[in-house]
Subunit: 127 residues, 2 copies
Amino acid sequence: MSDKPEISNAEFEVLDVLWDDHPATSSEVVSRLNDKKDWHEKTVKTLLGRLVKKEVLGFEKQQRQYLYYPLIAREDYTKKETTSFVSRLFKGKIAPMVAGFANQNSLTKQDVNELKALIKEWEENND
Amino acid sequence: MSDKPEISNAEFEVLDVLWDDHPATSSEVVSRLNDKKDWHEKTVKTLLGRLVKKEVLGFEKQQRQYLYYPLIAREDYTKKETTSFVSRLFKGKIAPMVAGFANQNSLTKQDVNELKALIKEWEENND
DNA sequence: ACTAATCGACTACAACTGTAATCATTAAAT
DNA sequence: ATTTAATGATTACAGTTGTAGTCGATTAGT
Protein backbone atom coordinates (compact mmCIF):
# COMPACT_ATOMS: atom_id res chain seq x y z
CA MET A 1 0.00 0.00 0.00
CA SER A 2 2.31 2.67 1.27
CA ASP A 3 4.45 3.61 -1.69
CA LYS A 4 8.15 3.46 -1.04
CA PRO A 5 9.38 6.91 -0.22
CA GLU A 6 11.91 8.33 -2.62
CA ILE A 7 14.66 9.79 -0.53
CA SER A 8 17.00 12.17 -2.29
CA ASN A 9 20.72 12.33 -1.65
CA ALA A 10 20.54 15.45 0.45
CA GLU A 11 17.56 14.12 2.35
CA PHE A 12 19.42 10.94 3.04
CA GLU A 13 22.19 12.79 4.82
CA VAL A 14 19.66 14.30 7.15
CA LEU A 15 17.97 11.01 7.77
CA ASP A 16 21.34 9.44 8.38
CA VAL A 17 22.21 11.65 11.31
CA LEU A 18 18.81 10.97 12.78
CA TRP A 19 19.39 7.27 12.46
CA ASP A 20 22.59 7.76 14.39
CA ASP A 21 20.74 9.35 17.25
CA HIS A 22 17.20 10.45 17.78
CA PRO A 23 15.02 12.18 18.52
CA ALA A 24 16.71 15.46 17.83
CA THR A 25 15.69 19.03 17.28
CA SER A 26 16.35 20.70 13.99
CA SER A 27 19.23 22.66 15.41
CA GLU A 28 20.82 19.50 16.72
CA VAL A 29 20.55 18.03 13.28
CA VAL A 30 21.99 21.19 11.81
CA SER A 31 24.97 21.16 14.09
CA ARG A 32 25.66 17.50 13.59
CA LEU A 33 25.58 17.98 9.86
CA ASN A 34 27.95 20.91 10.09
CA ASP A 35 30.79 18.48 10.57
CA LYS A 36 30.33 16.87 7.21
CA LYS A 37 28.24 19.15 5.07
CA ASP A 38 28.36 22.84 4.46
CA TRP A 39 24.68 23.46 4.47
CA HIS A 40 22.79 26.49 5.55
CA GLU A 41 20.48 26.00 8.46
CA LYS A 42 17.52 26.82 6.22
CA THR A 43 18.51 24.10 3.84
CA VAL A 44 18.49 21.52 6.57
CA LYS A 45 15.11 22.70 7.78
CA THR A 46 13.73 22.38 4.30
CA LEU A 47 15.03 18.85 4.08
CA LEU A 48 13.55 17.97 7.45
CA GLY A 49 10.22 19.31 6.27
CA ARG A 50 10.35 17.33 3.07
CA LEU A 51 11.18 14.15 4.94
CA VAL A 52 8.22 14.72 7.22
CA LYS A 53 5.97 15.25 4.24
CA LYS A 54 7.26 12.04 2.71
CA GLU A 55 6.49 10.29 5.99
CA VAL A 56 10.09 9.31 6.44
CA LEU A 57 10.36 11.34 9.62
CA GLY A 58 7.91 12.00 12.40
CA PHE A 59 8.12 14.57 15.14
CA GLU A 60 6.74 15.56 18.46
CA LYS A 61 6.32 19.07 19.61
CA GLN A 62 8.36 20.11 22.51
CA GLN A 63 7.17 23.61 23.31
CA ARG A 64 8.02 25.52 20.20
CA GLN A 65 10.51 23.10 18.78
CA TYR A 66 10.06 19.77 17.09
CA LEU A 67 11.77 16.58 18.04
CA TYR A 68 12.33 14.58 14.91
CA TYR A 69 12.73 10.84 14.64
CA PRO A 70 12.90 8.34 11.76
CA LEU A 71 9.80 6.42 10.79
CA ILE A 72 11.69 3.83 8.85
CA ALA A 73 14.52 1.65 10.08
CA ARG A 74 17.95 2.02 8.60
CA GLU A 75 18.20 -1.73 8.04
CA ASP A 76 14.96 -1.88 6.13
CA TYR A 77 15.97 0.99 3.98
CA THR A 78 19.46 -0.24 3.23
CA LYS A 79 18.25 -3.73 2.45
CA LYS A 80 15.74 -2.50 -0.06
CA GLU A 81 18.16 -0.11 -1.64
CA THR A 82 20.78 -2.80 -1.88
CA THR A 83 18.41 -5.22 -3.51
CA SER A 84 17.35 -2.72 -6.07
CA PHE A 85 20.89 -1.56 -6.68
CA VAL A 86 22.19 -5.06 -7.23
CA SER A 87 19.23 -5.85 -9.38
CA ARG A 88 19.70 -2.81 -11.59
CA LEU A 89 23.44 -2.88 -11.99
CA PHE A 90 24.28 -6.54 -11.61
CA LYS A 91 21.16 -8.37 -12.73
CA GLY A 92 20.58 -9.33 -9.13
CA LYS A 93 23.88 -11.18 -8.71
CA ILE A 94 25.79 -10.18 -5.63
CA ALA A 95 29.14 -11.77 -6.45
CA PRO A 96 29.97 -9.60 -9.46
CA MET A 97 29.20 -6.59 -7.36
CA VAL A 98 31.57 -7.67 -4.65
CA ALA A 99 34.13 -8.50 -7.31
CA GLY A 100 33.92 -5.03 -8.78
CA PHE A 101 34.14 -3.50 -5.37
CA ALA A 102 37.12 -5.59 -4.38
CA ASN A 103 38.82 -4.70 -7.57
CA GLN A 104 38.27 -1.01 -7.10
CA ASN A 105 38.87 -0.78 -3.37
CA SER A 106 41.04 -2.72 -1.06
CA LEU A 107 39.36 -5.40 0.90
CA THR A 108 40.68 -5.60 4.40
CA LYS A 109 41.31 -8.81 6.18
CA GLN A 110 38.38 -7.96 8.34
CA ASP A 111 36.12 -7.61 5.32
CA VAL A 112 37.22 -11.00 4.17
CA ASN A 113 36.71 -12.54 7.57
CA GLU A 114 33.24 -11.15 7.75
CA LEU A 115 32.41 -12.45 4.34
CA LYS A 116 33.71 -15.86 5.32
CA ALA A 117 31.54 -15.81 8.39
CA LEU A 118 28.52 -14.99 6.28
CA ILE A 119 29.28 -17.81 3.95
CA LYS A 120 29.79 -20.22 6.77
CA GLU A 121 26.47 -19.28 8.23
CA TRP A 122 24.79 -19.69 4.90
CA GLU A 123 26.32 -23.11 4.50
CA GLU A 124 25.13 -24.23 7.87
CA ASN A 125 21.58 -23.19 7.12
CA ASN A 126 21.45 -24.41 3.56
CA ASP A 127 22.18 -28.04 3.10
CA MET B 1 39.09 16.86 -14.94
CA SER B 2 36.06 15.47 -16.69
CA ASP B 3 33.27 15.61 -14.16
CA LYS B 4 31.53 12.35 -13.55
CA PRO B 5 28.37 12.26 -15.57
CA GLU B 6 25.18 12.00 -13.58
CA ILE B 7 23.08 9.37 -15.25
CA SER B 8 19.43 9.33 -14.30
CA ASN B 9 17.43 6.15 -13.85
CA ALA B 10 15.68 6.40 -17.18
CA GLU B 11 18.89 7.29 -18.92
CA PHE B 12 20.56 4.31 -17.38
CA GLU B 13 18.08 1.92 -18.96
CA VAL B 14 18.94 3.30 -22.36
CA LEU B 15 22.64 3.09 -21.72
CA ASP B 16 22.19 -0.43 -20.48
CA VAL B 17 20.78 -1.76 -23.73
CA LEU B 18 23.61 -0.07 -25.57
CA TRP B 19 26.12 -1.75 -23.32
CA ASP B 20 24.51 -5.04 -24.23
CA ASP B 21 25.10 -4.42 -27.88
CA HIS B 22 26.35 -1.50 -29.87
CA PRO B 23 26.39 0.51 -31.97
CA ALA B 24 22.68 0.73 -32.52
CA THR B 25 20.27 3.12 -34.13
CA SER B 26 17.67 4.86 -32.06
CA SER B 27 14.94 2.60 -33.37
CA GLU B 28 16.93 -0.46 -32.43
CA VAL B 29 17.26 0.94 -28.96
CA VAL B 30 13.57 1.70 -28.90
CA SER B 31 12.60 -1.79 -29.91
CA ARG B 32 14.96 -3.45 -27.49
CA LEU B 33 13.57 -1.33 -24.69
CA ASN B 34 10.03 -2.23 -25.64
CA ASP B 35 10.51 -5.60 -24.05
CA LYS B 36 11.06 -4.16 -20.61
CA LYS B 37 9.82 -0.61 -20.61
CA ASP B 38 6.68 0.95 -21.89
CA TRP B 39 8.23 4.06 -23.26
CA HIS B 40 7.18 6.13 -26.17
CA GLU B 41 9.66 6.32 -28.98
CA LYS B 42 9.98 10.05 -28.41
CA THR B 43 10.92 9.48 -24.83
CA VAL B 44 13.74 7.17 -25.78
CA LYS B 45 15.01 9.66 -28.34
CA THR B 46 15.04 12.37 -25.72
CA LEU B 47 17.04 10.15 -23.42
CA LEU B 48 19.50 9.31 -26.17
CA GLY B 49 19.95 13.00 -26.83
CA ARG B 50 20.52 13.76 -23.19
CA LEU B 51 23.10 11.02 -22.91
CA VAL B 52 24.93 12.40 -25.90
CA LYS B 53 24.89 15.84 -24.38
CA LYS B 54 26.27 14.41 -21.17
CA GLU B 55 28.99 12.73 -23.19
CA VAL B 56 27.93 9.32 -22.06
CA LEU B 57 27.08 8.27 -25.58
CA GLY B 58 28.70 9.04 -28.89
CA PHE B 59 27.32 8.46 -32.36
CA GLU B 60 28.26 8.27 -35.98
CA LYS B 61 26.03 9.32 -38.77
CA GLN B 62 24.93 6.62 -41.06
CA GLN B 63 23.03 8.43 -43.83
CA ARG B 64 20.22 10.04 -41.98
CA GLN B 65 20.34 7.92 -38.86
CA TYR B 66 22.73 7.89 -35.97
CA LEU B 67 24.57 4.90 -34.69
CA TYR B 68 24.95 5.29 -30.96
CA TYR B 69 27.57 3.72 -28.77
CA PRO B 70 28.65 4.11 -25.12
CA LEU B 71 31.59 6.32 -24.27
CA ILE B 72 32.04 4.82 -20.86
CA ALA B 73 32.54 1.19 -19.98
CA ARG B 74 29.94 -0.63 -17.98
CA GLU B 75 32.59 -1.96 -15.62
CA ASP B 76 33.97 1.47 -14.88
CA TYR B 77 30.54 2.82 -14.23
CA THR B 78 29.37 -0.02 -12.03
CA LYS B 79 32.56 0.00 -10.01
CA LYS B 80 32.28 3.67 -9.26
CA GLU B 81 28.62 3.44 -8.45
CA THR B 82 29.21 0.48 -6.21
CA THR B 83 31.97 2.22 -4.34
CA SER B 84 29.87 5.27 -3.73
CA PHE B 85 26.84 3.21 -2.82
CA VAL B 86 28.71 1.14 -0.28
CA SER B 87 30.36 4.21 1.06
CA ARG B 88 27.11 6.08 1.52
CA LEU B 89 24.98 3.34 2.94
CA PHE B 90 27.48 1.10 4.66
CA LYS B 91 30.33 3.40 5.59
CA GLY B 92 32.43 1.71 2.94
CA LYS B 93 32.16 -1.77 4.46
CA ILE B 94 31.20 -4.42 1.97
CA ALA B 95 30.36 -7.24 4.36
CA PRO B 96 27.35 -5.58 6.00
CA MET B 97 26.00 -4.89 2.58
CA VAL B 98 26.30 -8.50 1.55
CA ALA B 99 24.80 -9.50 4.87
CA GLY B 100 21.77 -7.31 4.31
CA PHE B 101 21.41 -8.59 0.81
CA ALA B 102 21.68 -12.21 1.86
CA ASN B 103 19.15 -11.63 4.52
CA GLN B 104 16.69 -10.03 2.15
CA ASN B 105 17.22 -12.25 -0.86
CA SER B 106 18.17 -15.84 -1.20
CA LEU B 107 21.74 -16.47 -2.00
CA THR B 108 22.12 -19.29 -4.43
CA LYS B 109 24.79 -21.87 -4.12
CA GLN B 110 26.37 -20.33 -7.16
CA ASP B 111 26.50 -16.94 -5.47
CA VAL B 112 28.24 -18.52 -2.55
CA ASN B 113 30.67 -20.38 -4.75
CA GLU B 114 31.54 -17.20 -6.55
CA LEU B 115 32.07 -15.38 -3.33
CA LYS B 116 34.30 -18.15 -2.10
CA ALA B 117 36.33 -17.94 -5.28
CA LEU B 118 36.76 -14.22 -4.76
CA ILE B 119 37.92 -14.76 -1.24
CA LYS B 120 40.31 -17.44 -2.25
CA GLU B 121 41.81 -15.21 -4.84
CA TRP B 122 42.14 -12.40 -2.36
CA GLU B 123 43.86 -14.70 0.09
CA GLU B 124 46.34 -15.84 -2.49
CA ASN B 125 47.27 -12.30 -3.35
CA ASN B 126 47.28 -10.90 0.14
CA ASP B 127 49.54 -12.42 2.73
C1' DA C 1 8.24 46.10 28.06
C1' DC C 2 10.96 46.05 23.93
C1' DT C 3 14.17 44.17 20.88
C1' DA C 4 16.55 40.55 19.01
C1' DA C 5 17.07 35.84 18.07
C1' DT C 6 14.83 31.61 16.77
C1' DC C 7 11.27 28.41 15.13
C1' DG C 8 8.41 26.36 11.83
C1' DA C 9 5.63 27.62 7.52
C1' DC C 10 5.66 29.17 3.17
C1' DT C 11 7.82 30.86 -0.97
C1' DA C 12 11.57 30.99 -4.55
C1' DC C 13 13.92 29.47 -8.26
C1' DA C 14 16.97 27.18 -11.47
C1' DA C 15 18.59 22.49 -12.88
C1' DC C 16 17.43 17.91 -13.59
C1' DT C 17 13.92 14.24 -14.73
C1' DG C 18 10.22 11.76 -16.75
C1' DT C 19 7.49 11.86 -20.38
C1' DA C 20 6.35 13.27 -24.43
C1' DA C 21 4.68 16.65 -28.73
C1' DT C 22 5.85 19.62 -32.59
C1' DC C 23 8.75 20.88 -36.47
C1' DA C 24 11.64 20.69 -40.38
C1' DT C 25 13.87 17.51 -43.32
C1' DT C 26 14.51 13.53 -45.77
C1' DA C 27 13.57 8.95 -47.32
C1' DA C 28 10.17 5.50 -48.62
C1' DA C 29 5.84 4.08 -50.61
C1' DT C 30 2.60 4.42 -54.00
C1' DA D 1 5.63 13.23 -58.29
C1' DT D 2 2.98 13.26 -54.05
C1' DT D 3 1.84 11.68 -49.86
C1' DT D 4 3.41 9.34 -45.89
C1' DA D 5 6.49 7.88 -42.57
C1' DA D 6 10.57 8.20 -40.00
C1' DT D 7 14.65 11.08 -38.14
C1' DG D 8 16.93 14.12 -35.34
C1' DA D 9 16.27 18.97 -33.27
C1' DT D 10 13.73 21.78 -30.56
C1' DT D 11 10.20 22.77 -27.32
C1' DA D 12 6.93 21.60 -23.43
C1' DC D 13 5.68 21.00 -19.01
C1' DA D 14 4.95 19.34 -14.38
C1' DG D 15 7.38 17.17 -10.44
C1' DT D 16 11.76 16.67 -7.79
C1' DT D 17 15.92 18.40 -5.91
C1' DG D 18 19.43 21.53 -4.13
C1' DT D 19 19.81 25.51 -1.91
C1' DA D 20 18.17 28.97 0.36
C1' DG D 21 15.10 33.55 1.62
C1' DT D 22 10.97 35.73 3.74
C1' DC D 23 7.21 35.91 7.08
C1' DG D 24 4.66 35.68 11.22
C1' DA D 25 4.80 34.01 15.82
C1' DT D 26 7.24 33.15 20.00
C1' DT D 27 10.80 33.10 23.26
C1' DA D 28 14.95 34.95 25.38
C1' DG D 29 17.79 38.80 26.64
C1' DT D 30 18.15 43.22 28.56
